[in-house]
């Protein structure tokens, strides 16, 4: 147990600090999280790549910085950018999911064509996996791609395509072999969102905002060479990508910020004859959440250490999504209860606190509990992969299960 950094990493941290001091004036306002980055954000991203603070381990020949993986350096970058409130490298499904997939399974041509523009924020991607009828059981997807000469012709519908309105491109799972067993009939295609026959409809959620879309395909023609991996192997290609997605969730830093905001709220707001913090029941709930947060935070350090040593934290990693999403939801729930009647205000109402962020988070986090593998699917994974418990036996009439 050693929570200090090595001399090399300490030196690296100083480098990051010097960079931030020197260049922070050039950072775009409003952070790098916008779905279609501004010109300023793209310029900033290029500067970050040039210094190795974005696309750090992507090979140089594909437009990255080409450093060897070092999870502690990545963490140092994240920590210092956050501490300085300077926008970090762009985050998008293209960067976090498509790029690693292409690096692992793409052709040389695909890598050269797509990785550079994607990591620079010049090309925006959306993900076409889920369908209205295929949620937890993703492999049952029904969007069809039939052969016609040198093209696939796609018909069907995707849902939860979060950046579809802004996206230039989509990476998409389609069924190319309808006669094969369900996992074996899927292919992974990449194509332009400007291809004729694509319609995008905003998908409003319980928050009242359209954070997602539905995307409809009618006779959408895609050249056959725009496949990643082999025909019928799309399921395995996608699983490589999903593996990368799981790492994105449950950031303890973000959870900690929410918690600190909640504690501040409870110290500052009053109800009845005192501060909300003086209400023993609400305070007790706050402290419970703080203990859980501490556990999740140190669990995160444990996972980090294991990864840095080339290991896998196993169970400690498998439980992160379930626990972190629940904790986030509970933090918001306490904030709403602490605000009482003020907590139900929304949509710019007078007396609204924090612009309604607590209510919005409360609802959106329920979506996160469900999305990316419902809590039930997460528990199956924890039990089967983490604890080695037996899978559900096969049904009398059925084929296989994910």
């Amino acid at each position: 147990m050693d929570l200090t950094y090595s001399a090399e990493h300490q030196a690296f941290r100083r480098e990051v600090l010097v960079f931030l001091e020197t260049h922070r004036h050039a950072a775009p306002k409003g952070g790098g999280a916008a779905q279609r980055p501004s010109a300023g954000a793209v310029a900033w991203q290029k500067l970050l790549i040039a210094h190795g603070y974005a696309a750090r381990t992507i090979p140089k020949e594909y437009g990255g910085y080409g450093a060897a993986p070092d999870i502690l350096k990545s963490r140092i970058i994240g920590e210092e950018f956050a501490r300085a409130s300077v926008p970090p490298g762009l985050q998008s499904q293209g960067i976090s999911m498509l790029v690693p997939t292409l690096l692992e399974l793409g052709t040389e041509e695909q890598k050269r064509q797509w990785i550079g523009p994607t990591i620079r924020g010049e090309v925006i991607w959306c993900q076409g996996y889920s369908e209205p009828g295929s949620g937890s059981d993703l492999a049952s997807l029904q969007t069809r791609a039939t052969e016609d000469g040198d093209d696939f012709v796609i018909n069907g519908q995707k849902i939860w395509t979060s950046t579809a309105r802004e996206a230039d491109m989509i990476f998409c799972l389609v069924r190319t072999e309808p006669d094969k067993a369900k996992h074996d009939g899927i292919s992974y295609l990449i194509f332009s969102m400007k291809t004729p026959g694509i319609e995008v409809r905003p998908l409003v959620t319980m928050t009242g905002h359209a954070e997602f879309n539905e995307t409809f395909f009618t006779d959408v023609r895609v050249p056959k060479y725009q496949i990643v991996g082999k025909r019928g192997q799309g399921w395995f290609v996608a699983n490589a990508t999903l593996k990368h997605e799981r790492g994105m969730l449950g950031d303890p830093g973000q959870l900690e910020n929410r918690f600190l905001a909640l504690a501040e709220l409870m110290r500052n707001e009053t109800a009845g004859d005192g501060r909300i913090m003086d209400n023993p029941i609400l305070r007790d709930r706050l402290l419970r959440l703080q203990a859980e947060l501490a556990a999740m935070k140190f669990n995160g350090l444990r996972i980090l250490s294991a990864s840095a040593n080339g290991g896998d934290a196993g169970l400690a990693r498998l439980i992160v999504k379930l626990q972190a999403c629940e904790l986030a939801h509970q933090i918001s729930a306490l904030a709403i209860d602490a605000l009482g009647e003020l907590g139900v205000l929304y949509d710019g109402s007078p007396h609204l606190r924090a612009h309604g962020a607590w209510q919005q988070a409360y609802m959106f986090q329920l979506g996160l509990i469900i999305g990316g593998g419902t809590a039930q699917i997460q528990k199956n994974i924890i039990a089967e992969r983490g604890l080695g418990m037996p899978r559900e036996p096969k049904l009398a009439h059925e084929g296989s299960r994910v």
């Binding site: 889920s130 209205p132 009828g133 295929s134 949620g135 937890s136 059981d137 049952s140 849902i159 939860w160 998908l203 409003v204 959620t205 319980m206 009242g208 997602f212 009053t270 109800a271 009845g272 004859d273 209400n279 029941i281 609400l282 729930a333 709403i336 209860d337 605000l339 009482g340 009647e341 907590g343 139900v344 205000l345 929304y346 949509d347 710019g348 109402s349 007078p350 007396h351 209510q359 609802m363 329920l366 979506g367 509990i369 469900i370 999305g371 419902t374 809590a375 039930q376 528990k379 049904l395 009439h397 059925e398 084929g399 299960r401 994910v402």
Partner: protein, 362 residues
Amino acid sequence: MEFGLSSEQRMLQDAVTRYLAEQSPLRHVRDIAAAAKPYCPDVAAGLADLGVPGVIIPAEFGGIGLGLLEAALVAEALGHGVAPAHFAAAHVMAPLAIMLGGSDAQRRAWLPKLASGEATAAVAVSQSVERRDGSGVVAKDGWLDGTALFVLDAADAALFVVADNAAALHLVAADAAGLTQIPLTTIDKTRSVGELRLTGVKADPLPVGGAATTRRIIDAGRIMLAADILGAGAAMIEQAVAYAGTRVQFGRPIGSFQAVKHMCADMAAALEPCRSLVWYAAHAFDHAPDEASLMACHAKSHLSEVGRFVARTSTEVHGGMGFTDLAGLHYWFKRIGLDRQLLGGPELLRNEAARLQGWIAG
């Protein structure tokens, strides 16, 4: 000895349920929500035809003179149908305030209008439940000054029943000089909450009962909110069970998976006893007044906790669809969310329940 509903009571509840299913289906609720005016005059008229505005108002004033249990059954039906309509304040708390606290003149002036639905009344008693900085109404020398937050059933009200800082009630006509109304927007687009600013408004105090009348109407309001959660929660369970029966994943309806089944069983096991608790609290309000405040606290706090659990769990059973606006499940989710915080959150109510039993001082 009969702990259950009479056929007349069932008929009343069924009539409201059926009316809403036919005249205010989800499509209609959506339209009201989109228009950002959380109150629908057409639905109000339809409910008035069923006698809803006069449910507890005596026949001599044009009402149907039923008890709080019948009112709770109506509230449950309105929650079940996420009705874009007034009720707890407009049709229960306000008429009750005038019935209990009003002079003969006040009763004759207002109860017939309230019973027919010709006028509705809003209720401003939040400050009597829990003090909040920047809010409060001072009554002095016949004039009212201050601010009242979280005024219930505010939209289109002709009359406001306003508690002052000593928990005494006053009637304030909507067109009174010195009165400003400000709508507040909540997560729930099916009910109306507002703010009142009073600057030298002429007071028309309810002369009978003082703070005791306020206490009574708050008890009644809490029971109505509990019933609203009961109805909304039951609707969410029904929808979860129905969805789980038709949604197929991994080659079988998700309702055949034990995890989904147990989520539904947990919801039902938590909510079903609440029905009897709400019935009893409403019954006690009329027939066992000594228990009424305690039972109102228990009903509202317990339904708030169970309601939150059901709202969340039903959404989870619906998977991604429950999170979207497509399913519309969130109207019920938000209705339960609003009910929880009005007239006292569960922690406050449990503390009050302890005081009522003399377990702690105060």
